[in-house]
């Protein structure tokens, strides 16, 4: 029983991290209909910048409390990622807004490759490690173990999702964003500056990416110029599972994906009598995704949109 509980905790936390990244993905998709392949790379930049600052401060000899060091890392990462996201949108996506659907996808792939290699040139090929700032401080719960950081990540993901929900549903900015995502032409006629709204969406998405990056760096202890790819892929899967374009869907999809992977890895072997083991955990996750999409083609919480002609 304690193993099951531990697996659930593992899955929840990993899932919350996926959710953090998926939130940014889904915001951009909601408004532009674009799969932003480069989002994972922005997360990576956030992690790398924050880790560099944290390493610098940690090794500098100034006796700063760990929370302050991490906060400073975040303070460095968030604005930089926001600027990065803004630049990417302006340079690579805005010119292609009326282009055939797949053109921005290819550009996004190109941007992703460029960012990876720029990171490789700046930070080198070696993995950056998170200095041992926060003692694990595990809390036993019925045979399983939870650390402060794990609890923090889950709460942070929930908090950010709630904040975004509030922003999108209750503020005029959010109303403008929803209008733009539903019908950009008419929204423009209503006096909304589409370009600004889209830029703001990207900037918010990138800020989320930075936070997600720092959390990934803190939780796994490492950052590497190549880490964005897999993370982006997982986030995309999570966002689709929950219904892409839907904030709550991103959260649900992320957490669900984390749980599926965790429980899958833990129990496939037992369930199939040793025929399949934890080497099939990704297959299991995709299998569940495909099953969900067969019965709910727009994802778990996705609206049933009529086919756009």
């Amino acid at each position: 029983m304690d193993i099951l509980l531990q697996q659930i905790i593992n899955g929840l936390v990993a899932g919350s991290i996926y959710a953090l990244v998926a939130l940014g993905y889904t915001m951009v998709y909601g408004i532009l209909g674009l799969i932003n392949f480069a989002h994972g790379e922005v997360v990576m930049f956030g992690a790398m910048i924050a880790l560099s600052v944290i390493q610098l401060l940690f090794g500098s000899g100034l006796a700063l409390p760990p929370a302050i060091i991490v906060a400073l890392g975040l303070a460095a990462a968030i604005p930089t990622c926001m600027l990065l996201g803004f630049t990417i949108e302006r340079v690579a996506y805005r010119p292609l807004r009326h282009a055939p659907r797949l053109a921005p996808l290819i550009t996004a792939i190109g941007v992703s490759i460029v960012l990876q290699n720029v990171a490789m040139m700046i930070w080198g090929r070696r993995y950056l490690s998170f200095p041992a700032l926060l003692p694990p401080a595990p809390h036993p719960i019925g045979g399983a173990v939870v650390t402060d950081l794990q609890i923090f990540i889950v709460l942070l993901a929930l908090l950010l999702m709630a904040t975004l929900e509030w922003l999108v549903q209750r503020t005029s900015l959010g109303r403008a964003m929803r209008a733009t995502s539903q019908n950009p032409a008419v929204a423009g006629l209503m006096g909304i500056d589409i370009n600004t709204i889209i830029s703001i969406t990207f900037v918010i998405g990138s800020a989320l990416a930075a936070i997600a990056g720092v959390m990934v760096g803190a939780y796994y202890g490492i950052a590497h110029y190549y880490m964005g790819f897999l993370l982006g892929l997982k986030a995309f899967t999570a966002a689709v599972l929950g219904g892409i374009g839907n904030l709550r869907g991103a959260m649900l999809g992320g957490v669900l994906l984390g749980l599926i992977e965790s429980l899958g890895a833990g129990y496939i072997g037992d369930l199939t009598g040793g025929l399949f083991g934890s080497n099939y955990q990704d297959v299991f996750a995709f299998f569940v995704l495909i099953l969900v999409l067969i019965f709910r083609p727009s994802g778990l919480l996705g609206e049933r949109i009529a086919d756009r002609g």
């Binding site: 193993i3 531990q6 697996q7 593992n10 899955g11 990993a14 290699n117 490789m120 080198g124 090929r125 070696r126 993995y127 490690s129 200095p131 041992a132 694990p136 595990p138 173990v145 650390t147 796994y220 202890g221 490492i222 590497h224 190549y226 880490m227 897999l230 992977e261 965790s262 429980l263 899958g264 890895a265 833990g266 129990y267 072997g269 083991g277 934890s278 080497n279 955990q281 990704d282």
Partner: protein, 387 residues
């Protein structure tokens, strides 16, 4: 515009043909140019190891050029032709063909077993000797290529040595085995599991991750439930580091054991304090027991920073090729290959002599443990371990 179409095609053609800058130096009358090829992943997740495999030969070549190294009666001027194989077999094949086209006299490479496989065939067909400083898959040398040599013990030996250590020296009764589903990780883990089981230990868990993930808690929790004495991981440092850190937070107290993929500085950096007490092996002697170890380490670290893992072996590979060329009096592959196959010399890493398959004879395997944040030698297995 239609014109752009033609520009596109012209550009493609131009690029295809323009990149043929094969500056053929023939050297002066008293000098002979010897090109040594090096192939390793210089980009991608293993690039830190690939760069290491490039730096070793670079250092060797600089040293050789600084001395009055004679081949035949001419001073040899060595040149390194370095290629990035991206750890991808397809790219490795192209890179191998490029090296053959550039008429290199010998190749140091590749880093991974998966890339060495297709490349070895190409070098063998061209008759160019190849020494791999780090590809440990056992069957590489059983394909019948007369030109492939290995600078270190293969995975059969390493796996067997690790298993012997785990069961007989460490006394583990229940062992969990994890691998990263790469040719190297799976090969080593299977070897280990086989010998450990034969020695009487119970393999209580067999789990898998992959070489790109960093989330291992699910698999580790599953293992925790089986309560092993020892966990063996076949895979690389970039996964092993986070793995031990996660083991610690999950409260798993089993001993961590791994192979040469984890036996690096990056492992300690990435795993932090959780790596304390972890054990891993490297084929070959420990640096301080290597005849030229300390001297090499000083020279290398001054130029390139800390040694990642295989650079001493890559360095020795170049020196061995050069030695064979000197003894044969020629840098022509057909001339010095037979000498290379029979060579007996003292390298920086220890005695170098190849068996009929091209494997290193009397290859040692050293077991290390992390103590006080550093790898310390624990035990050395000589020719008595494994096959």
């Amino acid at each position: 515009m239609n014109s752009i179409r033609w520009y596109g095609i012209a550009l493609a053609a131009a690029l295809a043909l323009a990149g043929c800058n094969k500056g053929t130096e023939s050297g002066s009358a008293s000098e002979t140019v010897v090109k040594i090829g090096s192939a390793a992943p210089l980009t991608g997740p293993q690039s830190h190891l690939g760069k290491d495999n490039e730096n070793g030969p670079q250092l060797a070549i600089e040293e050789l050029n600084a001395q009055n190294f004679l081949i035949g009666d001419k001073k040899a001027k060595f040149e390194l032709v370095s290629k990035d194989d991206q750890a991808d077999p397809k790219t490795a094949a192209i890179v191998a063909q490029e090296l053959v086209d550039e008429k290199v006299a010998g190749v140091i490479g590749h880093l991974n077993s998966g890339t060495t496989r297709p490349a070895a065939k190409i070098y063998s067909d061209a008759g160019i000797p190849e020494i791999t400083p780090s590809a440990t898959a056992t069957d590489l040398t059983h394909q019948g290529y007369k030109t492939l040599f290995r600078m270190m013990a293969n995975d059969s030996r390493q796996g067997a040595a690790l298993a012997e250590f785990a069961v007989k020296k460490f006394g583990a009764k229940k062992i969990a085995v994890v691998d990263d589903r790469t040719a190297y990780g799976q090969g080593l883990a299977d070897q280990f599991a086989q010998v450990a089981a034969a020695d009487g230990a119970a393999i209580v868990g067999r789990e898998y991750v992959d070489d790109k993930k960093t989330e291992f808690r699910a698999v580790l929790t599953s293992i925790k439930g089986k309560d092993p004495d020892l966990i063996f991981y076949g895979g690389m440092d970039t996964q092993a580091g986070p793995m031990v850190a996660q083991m610690k937070t999950l409260g798993i107290r089993a001993q961590f054991l791994s192979g040469d993929g984890a036996r690096s500085l990056a492992f300690i950096q990435l795993g932090g304090s959780a790596t304390e007490g972890a054990i891993a092996s490297t084929p070959g002697l420990p640096l301080d027991k290597m005849p030229g170890g300390k001297a090499f380490a000083d020279k290398f670290t001054a130029k390139y920073g800390p040694i990642q893992n295989y650079s001493p072996f890559a360095y020795d590979a170049v020196m061995t090729l050069a030695d064979a060329m000197q003894r044969a009096g020629s840098s022509e592959p057909a001339q010095y290959l037979p000498i290379l196959a029979e060579i007996k010399r003292e390298g920086v890493t220890g005695p170098i002599e190849f068996d009929a398959n091209g494997d290193l004879m009397n290859s040692a395997v050293t077991i290390y443990q992390v103590k006080n944040g550093q790898w310390q030698t624990l035990e050395v297995f000589g020719a008595s371990a494994g096959q």
